[in-house]
């Protein structure tokens, strides 16, 4: 019988400060404590940034409108890339990434990420991520679309959940302060320098200033301007809109990725791994149509090619009524599906009433990821001093015009760490932030204005209209007329969104107010997407135009930059950083 020694256990970490609940106290406008670094967004990128900032000695806090456990990072399914196997190399990974990006990726960023992949996976594994193993104890990996070699490491088909869990565990261990259910509504930027944010405390309704010397934006996806999207309801690109309003720039917003296999109806994502594990796509005639679009990679062709293939089948009458095709997993058998793809099993049953071992799953393309985002340099720095950006909300650009599966999770971890480190180093020498009185006043005015508005339109109706317009005009297939229509519609909706009626004047958990604030962000981003898409007269990666179906390096090998001037948006361009692989034709 061994004796147990309680003193062997490490110190109990300080309570993760969940600041949301003031139990009725109203409007204490005093600052919530000063921090060196604040990270806006609590997902994989945000957690990584916060942990690194803390490791470098910074007093760091996370400001998130949800809670880290609820971030959309948990929805990522199939895997995270790294060149770990014999015969693989970071250069191979980099080449596949650049080719997959249709040569729009900034290759210095690609190099940074691909070189860092191995140590990143190792760090996460050492922190306890339950990566799937084989019988010999080696980490299991699977092939993923667009990669020459199988290099996607995974944890069942819930890799995002596993990585986010591990990150959250490390946040607990480090005792990092989290202001959960705090929605950032205003960036405090003065003379092009970041000084903090002003946030709406959703549980109490107060608007609070959170000053800081440095910041990292990690607000994640922004796809909710589309009617068919795999994104969570809360994925409204808040960080992007905040940056635009504060004078920063967004890059490459027109490059929107559509995932080929979302469940028809609720648009929940059916992981690419289902095809990696042997699933095949069939049209209404029972044909394996990918033979015509990607003869070598077939159903594992990159997502943009697969999405366009499915949409073409549907447009040309070979889809099922309702606009979808079939994903056939029946050859895998029930046990293998339940073992390797448990979530696919669940979704099919609970959201579509389909048994994937017996019947095919109805799938259609849905908006999934935006390659564009806050413009940063190769170290994640935005054009605003003291402010960095990482993860899906940033455009470094790692993914160029099309992202390969397995690279998003990697980007969050690598760039989260890089930007968190830079923010901490900068904060050490940065001056104390001034009082945030002006941004606070502006934020209170906006929030109270919305809360008290009577009359006006229902913001949800506007959101529906915008969603339809974007899906129709700036979707998988684009052309001049369609994009013009979408742009006009979105501009109208932007004007109308100024006078919405929230319908809830309450203080606590006023989600109608939150949704109205989110709508304001979405309409700005929708216009930037439509505008950038209209102007780009070529097809590249996920941006495909029937009127300009070819890639045009001579005219368009450049990044789109969008900034806000008053109430309008201006588009400029900047060159792509090509360091390793000169652009070639992209065939698979």
């Amino acid at each position: 019988m061994r004796e147990c020694h309680l003193e062997n256990l490490p110190e109990q970490p300080s309570r993760c400060n969940l600041q949301g609940f003031n139990n009725g106290a109203r409007f204490p406008r005093a600052p919530m404590g000063k921090h060196d670094v604040i990270v806006i967004g609590g997902g994989l990128a945000g957690a990584s940034a916060a942990l690194e900032a803390r490791a470098r000695g910074a007093d760091v806090a996370i400001v998130t409108k949800l809670h880290p456990a609820r971030s959309h990072s948990v929805a990522a399914m199939g895997g995270i890339n790294a060149a770990l196997e014999e015969g693989d190399s970071w250069e191979g990974h980099a080449f596949d990434t650049v080719k997959g990006s249709d040569y729009l990726a900034d290759q210095d960023a690609v190099e940074i990420v691909c070189r860092a992949a191995k140590e990143t996976i190792l760090r996460m594994e050492h922190w306890g991520t339950p990566f799937s193993r084989d019988e010999h104890g080696k980490m299991a990996h699977r092939p993923f679309g667009g990669h020459g070699m199988p290099r996607a490491y995974f944890a069942g088909d819930r890799t995002g959940l596993a990585l986010m869990q591990t990150s959250l565990e490390q946040l607990f261990r480090a005792g990092i302060t989290v202001y959960d259910e705090h929605m950032a509504v205003e960036l405090a930027v003065h003379q092009d320098t970041f000084h903090g944010v002003v946030a709406l405390n959703v549980p109490t309704g107060e608007v609070v200033p959170i000053p800081a010397k440095a910041g990292v934006l990690c607000t994640g996806p922004a796809g909710r301007m589309y009617s068919k999207t795999t994104n969570a309801v809360t994925c409204t690109g808040d960080g992007l809109a905040l940056v635009l309003r504060a004078g920063g720039a967004l890059k490459d917003m027109e490059f929107v990725q559509f995932h080929p296999t979302t469940l028809h109806g609720p648009n929940v994502l059916i992981t690419e791994a289902a095809r990696g594990d042997g699933g095949i796509m069939l049209n209404a005639k029972g044909e394996r149509f990918m033979e015509r679009y990607a003869p070598k990679l077939l159903d594992l062709a990159p997502r943009d090619i697969a999405s366009r293939a499915i949409q073409t089948e549907v447009n040309e009458g070979r889809g099922f009524p309702g606009g979808y095709v079939h994903l056939d997993l029946t050859m895998m058998g029930e046990e293998k599906i339940r073992e390797r793809l448990p979530e696919v099993w669940e979704f099919s049953e609970k959201f579509a009433g389909v048994n994937p071992a017996k019947e095919s799953i109805p799938i259609e393309p849905g908006q999934h990821y935006i390659m564009g985002g806050v413009a940063t340099d190769s170290q994640g720095a935005t054009t605003i001093r003291g402010l960095w950006a990482a993860g899906e909300c940033a455009c470094v650009s790692l993914h160029g015009s099309n992202r390969l599966g397995g690279n998003a999770l990697l980007e969050c971890l690598v760039y989260g760490k890089i930007t968190g480190g830079h923010a901490a180093d900068y904060a050490r020498k940065a001056p104390e932030p001034p009082p945030l009185s002006d941004p606070l006043t502006a934020a209170v005015k906006k929030v109270e204005g919305l809360r008290k508005a009577v009359g006006g339109e229902n913001p949800q109706s506007l959101k529906l209209e915008m969603g339809e317009a974007m899906t129709a005009g700036v979707g998988v297939f684009r052309d001049e007329a369609g994009m013009r229509n979408a742009l006009t519609a979105v501009r109208q909706i932007r004007k109308r969104s100024g006078g919405v009626r929230v319908g809830d004047a309450g203080q606590r958990f006023n989600y109608a107010l939150v949704e109205a604030l989110e709508l304001e962000n979405l309409v700005d981003l929708a216009e930037v997407i439509a505008y950038g898409a209209l102007l780009r007269r070529e097809s590249r990666g996920a941006h495909f135009r029937t009127d300009f179906p070819k890639r045009d390096d001579a005219g368009w090998l450049k990044h789109t930059l969008a900034t806000r001037r008053g109430d309008e948006f201006e588009i400029a361009y900047e060159p792509v950083r090509i360091t390793m692989f000169p652009p070639k034709e992209r065939t698979y």
Partner: protein
């Protein structure tokens, strides 16, 4: 038309008392409860508050009690509930204080999770490369890994309902994720802490958590695994451990449990010093209901001995 009845609460309205609001809705086939809550919030009553995000059963935001059982709103078919119960009843998660409508205070939930030290602890030297662990080793914690912290298990946990200090299924499942992970080397210290009051021995094995978890996590199974591991590590002083060992000893002796001996061994001195227990003992004796303390072994008790010996031999062999 289907009746939707929803719990409403706002500390600043109705004198701080909760009420129920009903809507009659035309619900299409395939719609989830979250779909209809959204419809109400977007187009009928924007003041209705509820947490939600991913709409794909992975973020854990939309945990609620639907027709009295904890579930996720986003993956529960509304018409299935209406068919079974005649209405769709939506209430906040149990065992947690409502803050507004369906939004509850998750603070105590997170505190319980924090209390088990929910992160990998490796005090020894880290390996150069990956930790060498096999699929079989990692599979042990499969029952605990997919927790999304939705709170459904804690909501319906009967032990937590009777004892708010009980750590609860989510926290203990999380604990097992590390106790069962070969990369974590604080096993003994952890089990010692979890064996204290309000830990693994306070679970009443009601199976609600195993039943309601939307992710297939088996918190109760995790708790029971940790009990066995704790006993293997010699952590026998907890009251629950004493009771289990007392029960086991009598079954090994006589093949069936000896109720009287189990109670005596488990309670120790309290068997004769606790007035209520003495009262029960006396009254059962008077009614002729007292269990027999001198139970004779069952026929075939030699079989039990042989099986015990056979298992012990196998274990010795595999340890060698």
């Amino acid at each position: 038309m289907t009746k939707l009845r929803v719990f409403r609460y706002d500390p600043e309205k109705n004198g701080g008392k909760s009420w129920y609001q009903t809507w009659d809705l035309d619900i299409a086939k395939g719609k989830t409860v979250l779909d209809i809550l959204h419809e109400v919030h977007y187009f009928h009553d924007p003041t209705l508050s509820f947490r939600r995000s991913c709409n794909s059963a992975i973020c854990g935001s939309c945990g609620m009690r639907l027709n009295k059982q904890a579930r996720l709103a986003c993956n529960t078919q509304a018409l299935d509930l209406a068919e079974e119960y005649g209405e769709v009843l939506v209430e906040p998660l149990g065992n947690l204080r409502p803050l507004k409508d369906l939004v509850v205070d998750m603070g105590p939930f997170w505190q319980s999770v924090l209390d088990v030290r929910p992160f990998l602890i490796h005090q020894g030297k880290e390996p150069e490369g990956l930790y060498p662990v096999t699929k079989a080793q990692m599979d042990l914690t499969r029952i605990a890994r997919d927790c999304i912290f939705c709170g459904a298990c804690l909501s319906d946990c009967t032990s937590r309902e009777a004892n708010p200090a009980f750590l609860g299924p989510a926290a203990l499942a999380k604990a097992y994720k590390f106790v069962g992970d070969p990369r974590d080397d604080a096993t003994e210290g952890r089990l010692a802490v979890y064996s204290e009051p309000n830990g693994i021995w306070d679970c009443d094995t009601c199976l609600y958590c195993n039943e309601v978890c939307p992710m297939g996590v088996k918190p109760m199974d995790a708790i029971l695994m940790m009990r066995e591991m704790a006993l293997e590590h010699g952590l026998v002083r907890a009251q629950g451990a004493r009771h289990a060992l007392a029960f086991y000893d009598t079954v090994m002796k006589s093949g069936k449990v000896n109720e009287a001996m189990t109670a005596m061994k488990s309670l120790g001195r309290r068997f004769v010093t606790d007035a209520g227990t003495v009262g029960i003992t006396l009254r059962t004796v008077l009614k002729g209901k007292a269990p027999n303390p001198f139970k004779r072994p069952i026929r075939g008790i030699q079989d039990i001995r042989k099986l015990q010996a056979s298992l012990e031999q196998s274990r010795r062999r595999s340890r060698a």
